[in-house]
Structure formats: C-alpha cells, structure tokens
Amino acid sequence: MAKVAQRSEPAETEREELISGSEAIAVACKLADVDVITAYPIRPYDTVMQYVARLVANGELDCEYIVAESEHSQFEIVKHASAAGARVFCGSSGVGWMYAFEALTVTPALRIPLVAMVGNRALDDPGAFGVEHNDALAVRDLGWLLVWVDTAQEALDTALIAWRVAEDRRVFLPCAIGCDGAFLTHSQSIVRVPPSSWVRQFLPPYNRGDLLLHPDNPITVAPQVNEDWLMELRKHNDEAMTRARQVLREAYTDFERIFGRTYGNPFFEEYQTEDAEVVLVGMGTLSMPVKVAVRQMRQQGLQVGFVRLRWFRPFPTQELAATLSRFRAVGVIDRDYSFGSPHSSGVLANEIRAALYSAPARPPLVAFICGLGGREVTVPNVREMTELVRRAAAGEPVESTYWIGIRQ
C-alpha cells in the first residue's frame, strides 16, 4: 500500500480570492458558522443567497437554509430562530425590504440580534433596480444598527463585526449592512478571506443567556404592554443603541488585533482631509468617483477632501461634528431623498445638519441629491458639487439643496 505523505497543517493564513460583495458576505456566513438562513428572491440582494445556497449544497456551510415564501416570513423566521438561540442571517432589497417592514419593526423591539444584508435598490414604482439608499434608511428610526460598506473586503469584515456587536449582551439589536446594488453586490475584487480559527477568536458563540426561549428557561417574550411600560422599554432600547457605540469601538480594536487590518475610526473614513478646506460627505460606493475626482482636483491645487460615513446608526454625532467643523464648508451627497423634509434634502444631509447644530464652529452645508436609482455619479458631477461647496465656503449665496446630474 502506497504510503500517504504526512502533510503538516499549513500555518493558517488569509487567502486571497476574487469575489463580489455579495459573495464576500456569503463567505462571512460560513466563517461565522451561521445556524439559520432564509432566502427570498429580489435583485440585487438575491446574489448573496445564490452564493449561500452553493455553500450549503457543497457542504461548506452547515446551517438550516430555508427558502421562504415572502420577505415577511423570511424575517419572521430568523427573528424566532434567533430568539431560540440560533445565529441568523437574511436580507433583502428595495420593496422586498419594505414588504418585511412589520417584522423589521419588531425585531429590535424584542432585542433580537440578526445580521441582514440590504442590497440597496430604488423603491418601486416605477420598477427600478438600481441603487438608492431609501430602502435601508427606512429603518433608521426603529432601533436597527445600520452600516454602509464600500468594498467586498469591507463587506466581509463588517459582517463579522456586525454579528459581534449585534450579539453582544450590552446591545442585542439587529444590524443591517447596506451594500450598493450592482456597484458592490455584483462587482468582484480581491478579498483577503481569513481562516475560521481567527474568526472564532474574534466572534464568540451567540449566547442568548436569560433571554433564551427554551423549556429550561420558561420566559414570556413580548407580553402585551400599554402606556404603563412602553416608555421604559423604548428607553432600554435606546440605551442599548447608545452602548453600541462603545461596543463597536471595542470590536474594531479587536478586529485589528486579530486580523491585522485596520479601519482607523470605525464610524467614518477620511480621505485627503488633513489640509482640506472643503469636504464632501457620502456613503457607500459613491467613494469611487469622489476619490478619483478629489485626486484630480488636488492636482489642480484645490484643497478638497472626502468623508465616507460607515455607521449611520448609531450616528457618530460628536465625532462627525468635530471633524466637519474643521472645514470651511461641507457638501453632503445623498443617494436617497426625503420628500418634504427640511430644506428639501436627503436623509444624510438632514442628519448631518442636525449633528452640526451644536458644534462650536458650524460650516455652511450644501446638500446634493445624486445617483438615484443607480444613475452613475460621474467625476464631472463631483467637480460640480465641489464648486458649489467652494462658493458656499467663500460666502457666496447658494441654495440649500441641488439635484445633480438631472436632465432639465
């Protein structure tokens, strides 16, 4: 009998793979040893489930994989699975996310950790498949942790961080990861995939403790309350959201220690801001054209920078206000819109205006609506926006909101 060569286990290292943003999150599900996953088709989120399904079919991911009959069921199934102690994942896009809205509403109220991917997509009608952030932003007032990622690498890393933070007993809230439809969900790039042993060091098993729904722990979950208790419960949820800021910082510190990859400030990325006079602010894959434009404009001597917000909930009010008040003017690019809102702006611009209100130095803010429904945000668009911000910095009169790249 031929002797089988003894191979020593190779030292565990990261592997480089060419994968899309959706695939990166599917890989994160495998690394996190997720127990229950539910799927229901809608573009562009469904790509993550196509990868998950393949991992399950090939025996690489050991979970209960349930194809549901609607998004409402999809989110209710994982909500209850999490209550019974399972680590869970699901997601959706656009109107699918809205169809699940009732389930999305009760999940944070019940302090249920759940990690979801939102493949951001415009809300029908008219049927539109391209990216817009209004879908995920709809849960901003409900107690969801909400983060936007920019690259497939960040998607994978953030998913691991999301489970860690969501399942921390101090938090116990669901987390939605915003992934720009097509630009991120469908685009491949090189991703460093960590070995599962590293992930195990970073991500402890989900322990629901005294809130586990099990015959050994016969609790009643969500008994009916009225005015006599509801305010206290809402306040508890708010305290969990407040604590999430610190838990997030700890998670990023640990992430850097174990994976050797640093994200600096967890809440937002600053790009060429050190000596910038004006900055643009935005979320998600917008960063690509903005960064290119910033580099070009800098070659022409314009001192412009970019701040890419990651964590929208909890909102980094103090940190962002401190950073933005360094500049002479701020331009906020929204890939969403809030009809009838203050200054007819997008959601992000309104949040940043609110955050800046109590800042010692309050730079002028110009809001931009751009790239709706997946329309490309071009380098000339970014230059146009920068020019308007520079005019605001110079004290020239500008409007509070501009729609950029729109046909007249």
Binding site: D33, D35, V36, D62, C63, E64, I66, A68, E69, S70, H72, S73, E76, I77, V78, K79, H80, A81, S82, A83, A84, G85, A86, E102, A103, V106, P205, L213, H214, P215, N217, P218, I219, T220, V221, A222, P223, Q224, V225, N226, D228, W229
Partner: protein
C-alpha cells in the same frame, strides 16, 4: 460535532385513555383576562396540557395574545413568545429550525421539544395563510400550527374574517335597512384546503374543545407524528357570538351535532371522521337542524326563515356532495352511509 440527526427527536405522546388519565399539571394557568366562557382560553389550556412541559408556544396577535399576556404577568408556564398577526407559520418554522440547527451542531442538548404556534382565524385564514402553507411544506422540522377559530377578529372588536359564517352580525357586517345580510361569503374550508394542498404534511385535524379528551389526543398525535402539522379548532366566543357564557360547551357540541363543524383528521392522506361526526356519518345519530345552533346566538338574530334554509342547504350540500380534492373521498363514503375507516 454531535452526531448528525435527520431531524429533532420526537416525543412519545400516547393518547389519554379517558378523562381520569389526564395529568393534573397545568401549563396555562391564572393571570389571563379572557371573557367569561371563552372557549379559546380553554383550548390554550388543553393544548399545552396535552403537549406537556417540554414545549415552546408561539402566539400570533389576537385575543389569545392580548388577553393572556399582560406585561409583568403571564398565564404561560412554558416559554411563550409573541409573533406577528400573519406569522404563526414562520414563528413555528423559525423556532423549529433553530432547535434543529442547534441540536445538530451540538450547541443544545438533543431532546424532543414541542413547538406549537397558534393563530386566530383572522391571522391564520387570512393574512397568515401563505406563511402557514409554506411552513407545512418544510417536512424536516417538527411543529404544530393550531388555528383557534372564534369566527371573527375578536380582539379588535369582532370584525368578520374569512372564517366568519355566512350572514353573521359583526362590527364590519351589521344588518342594515338596505342590506340585511352584509356578509355574503361562505366560510373557507381551511383544514381541508391545507390537507389537500400539502401532500407532505402528515397530519391535519379539526377539533372542538367541547370534546376535551378527543381534542387533546389530536394535539398529542400532531406533535408526535413528525414534520409540520395543522389543527383547526372551532371555539365559541360569548362576546362575538352573543350568547350566555355558560352555553359555550353546548354551542360547540351543537356545531358538531348540526354538522356545521365536522370532526375529522387526515393522517398520512387517510381521512378519519371521529366522535359525533363519525356517528352521524354512520347513521348512528341524526344530524340536527342548523336552526338549533343559529337561534341560540345573537349574531344570527336578524336571520329570517329563508336565511336559515339557505344555511341548512349549504351544510347539506357539504355533507352530500363535498370532496376534498385528491385527499378525501368524503361524499361517496357518506352517501353510502358509512365513514371511511
């Protein structure tokens, strides 16, 4: 990793042989605020008594949520969790899936744990129907969905649902001067629909708590047979049906005796009539006229003789002509004067 199991282990729940063999332990006790004479509350009590202490109960929004679990008090001795009005199917499925994953992966000790998700007729037969239907196709998970049918959206003040009987007076279907009968639709046949449409579901039954031991034994069979199962219970509701609360059991019996509520189970595609229904089908007792049932309830007080005749004709039609497609040779068996089995 723990040894792989195909599914979570099943409990052994032999039928109770007579009322004296029913254990005294209660898992749904004091602390609730249901109306006097509420049969649905009794159904909760019997359902979980039949299941025993190693049970998780999920309850969708409705009277059996709002009146049974008040913050800082609960009538449930076993773990209980609320689910959304249309989510009893998803709640049962999600909980059973978690148990299966955690036991399979060695994260929880392997043991039989009953999962029961209940819903009212509104939540179950209307908005929750698609989730229940989907849940019944997931054969690798063990759980029971119990629909307690008080024939109205009772909790929100007695509105008509897809299971409200023809012509009943509800707050959404009051008798008026221009339209005496505002609700003209006939009640959906939920148990039959689910039995017929879900060939992999091993057990579907109708029950009535007026026959308590029979009802508990159906629950025990549903929980021990494996896979997802469904039970539909008809529950007289003194508030919504408008009768003296002391008559609740009697009304349940009348519904069965008048043939309005046939008691049957479909086990592995085989129909079995049981109890009074079987007796009627076999000609041992006579089907009573529906009038006996209708006149005892305020919700039918506006009925004329014609309305009662119409109601009777529809019930007769069910007994004489109905077939549940692909599953139940109901009509021919009954016209031959014998019940299948």
């Amino acid at each position: 990793m723990a040894e792989a199991i195909a599914t979570t282990p099943l409990p052994t729940l032999e039928p109770f042989k007579g009322v004296k063999k029913v254990p005294l332990g209660e898992y749904f006790t004091s602390g609730h605020r249901t109306c006097q004479g509420c049969e649905s509350a009794l159904v909760m009590r019997l359902m979980v008594k039949a299941a025993g202490p190693r049970t998780i109960v999920l309850g969708s929004t409705g009277c059996m949520y709002v009146a049974n679990t008040t913050y800082y008090s609960t009538s449930w001795v076993v773990p209980w969790m609320h689910t959304q009005l249309g989510s009893s199917g998803s709640a049962g499925l999600g909980t059973a899936a978690a148990l299966r994953a955690l036991m399979r992966k060695g994260k929880l000790p392997t043991e039989p744990i009953n999962v029961i998700a209940f819903c009212g007729d509104g939540g179950g037969a209307d908005m929750g129907l698609s989730a229940i239907s989907a849940a019944l196709t997931h054969t690798e998970y063990n759980f029971l969905i119990l629909l307690y049918d008080n024939e109205s959206y009772a909790n929100t003040d007695i509105q008509l649902s897809g299971l409200t009987p023809y012509g009943a007076h509800t707050t959404f279907s009051p008798p008026g001067t221009a339209k005496r009968i505002l609700h003209q639709r006939w009640k959906k046949n939920v148990a039959g629909m689910l039995a017929a449409g879900h060939p992999s579901c091993r057990y579907v039954a109708t029950v009535c708590a007026s026959y308590a031991v029979e009802m508990m034994n159906r629950v025990r069979k549903a929980l021990s047979i494996g896979g997802p199962t469904f039970i539909h219970s008809l529950d007289p509701c003194p508030k919504g049906w408008d009768y003296d609360p002391m008559l609740s059991h009697e009304l349940g019996e009348l519904a069965v005796e008048c043939g309005i509520w046939p008691l049957y189970e479909v086990e592995d595609h085989k129909l079995k009539l049981y109890g009074r229904t079987k007796g009627i089908a076999q000609g041992r007792s006579k089907r009573r006229p529906v009038r006996d049932y209708l006149v005892r309830q305020g919700r039918f007080a506006h009925f004329t003789d014609d309305d009662i005749d119409y109601f009777q004709a529809k019930v007769d039609e069910m007994w004489e002509r109905w077939i549940i497609p692909g599953v139940i040779p109901f009509a021919s068996e009954i016209t031959n004067g014998r019940s299948p089995d």
